[in-house]
Symmetry: C2
Subunit: 197 residues, 2 copies
């Protein structure tokens, strides 16, 4: 039994994972988003690419069996199991600027972007290297006219997704800080690194 | 009258544009895609962000009046006029790896990614700095289940889009090299840099 680590509400962590290990991300209380980004451990120029992953999957909603690709088209993660089936790969992590531009927020607001770049900074990663995240449990609907709507996550308490690492990586992972993405309540996210098959 | 430059089929260019100038991109023969990427001229860490642009517009199809944002949430381009109304901002530029993974192509295939990194390399930009492009005239439909389908462009001969530069930038622009994106025929793209208002 591997240890489960809790990411408190509106915070983030960074950690290494080895090829073959499985990153299990739990939504312990339900309706909570977790933003994930990743870099090749020994080459930070190689990082997660939404555009390549969507292109190669020919769909915007990735789930069991699908691969998350790097910007150089190498597989980074394979989704082994997915108890929710709805995650977002279109939107950047919430940021101070997002809260100001979209919601006209005044003053500092906790954000996934800040939480990611602070945690990943410990590994020498700069903010501008963090691109569009795989937003685990985030429920973004795209209308026939292309309108994007953020809905309550479909995740129920205890649901998880298993992502097998296809290379050695440094990962950043958050408990999302955006009111609108988490049905108005900030909750923790749990994760574990499992040894794999 | 500003000079119009032709980008031959399956090739690409890079150029500087100043804040306030207008980048006009023409589809001279119709049904031809042009991939666009951009960096702040004096700070290449600042580059075009599909994820931020889609988030702030709350839609995947950007057109007249919409803003293309950088990864640090600063405006890079504003769409002043758009005679086509359908462009893609989900997919990475076509690449050697894309032709191999999606189409099982053998041997070298011209690609927007190669054409962009060769042209932008003259400005000191590395391939991994090129993210999801704004794929002008590319017609990507997203089904209700999230399936992505590449259709023939809606652009007719002579149609154009005007993008006003909101900062000094280095841009890469291509005539797209993917059979499937251009209704099976590789055509040129024309562009001009207009002085602005």
């Amino acid at each position: 039994m591997s240890a489960v680590t809790r990411i408190p509400p509106q915070s983030g962590v960074a950690f290494r994972i080895r090829a073959g290990q499985i990153l299990r991300i739990y939504d312990p209380l339900g309706e909570q988003v977790a933003d994930l980004f990743a870099f090749k451990d020994d080459d930070h120029a190689c990082s997660l690419s939404s555009g390549r992953s969507i292109d190669y999957a020919s769909k915007i909603y990735l789930s069991t069996g699908d691969i998350l690709y790097a910007n150089d088209s190498r597989p980074m993660f394979r989704i082994l199991e997915d108890q929710v089936g709805r995650h977002d790969f279109l939107l950047t992590p919430c940021s101070q600027e997002m809260f100001e531009i979209l919601y006209h927020h005044h003053g500092h607001h906790p954000s996934c972007f800040e939480n990611l770049y602070r945690a990943l900074g410990e590994f020498g990663i700069r903010p501008e290297q963090i691109g569009t995240t795989f937003n685990v449990f985030m429920n973004v609907e795209v209308g026939p006219d292309g309108a994007v709507a953020v809905k309550a996550p479909k995740s129920k308490p205890g649901d998880f997704i298993d992502l097998r690492a296809e290379m050695d990586m440094v990962c950043g992972l958050t408990s999302c800080s955006a009111e609108n993405s988490n049905n108005g309540r900030f909750k923790p996210i749990d994760y574990a690194i499992l040894p794999g098959a």
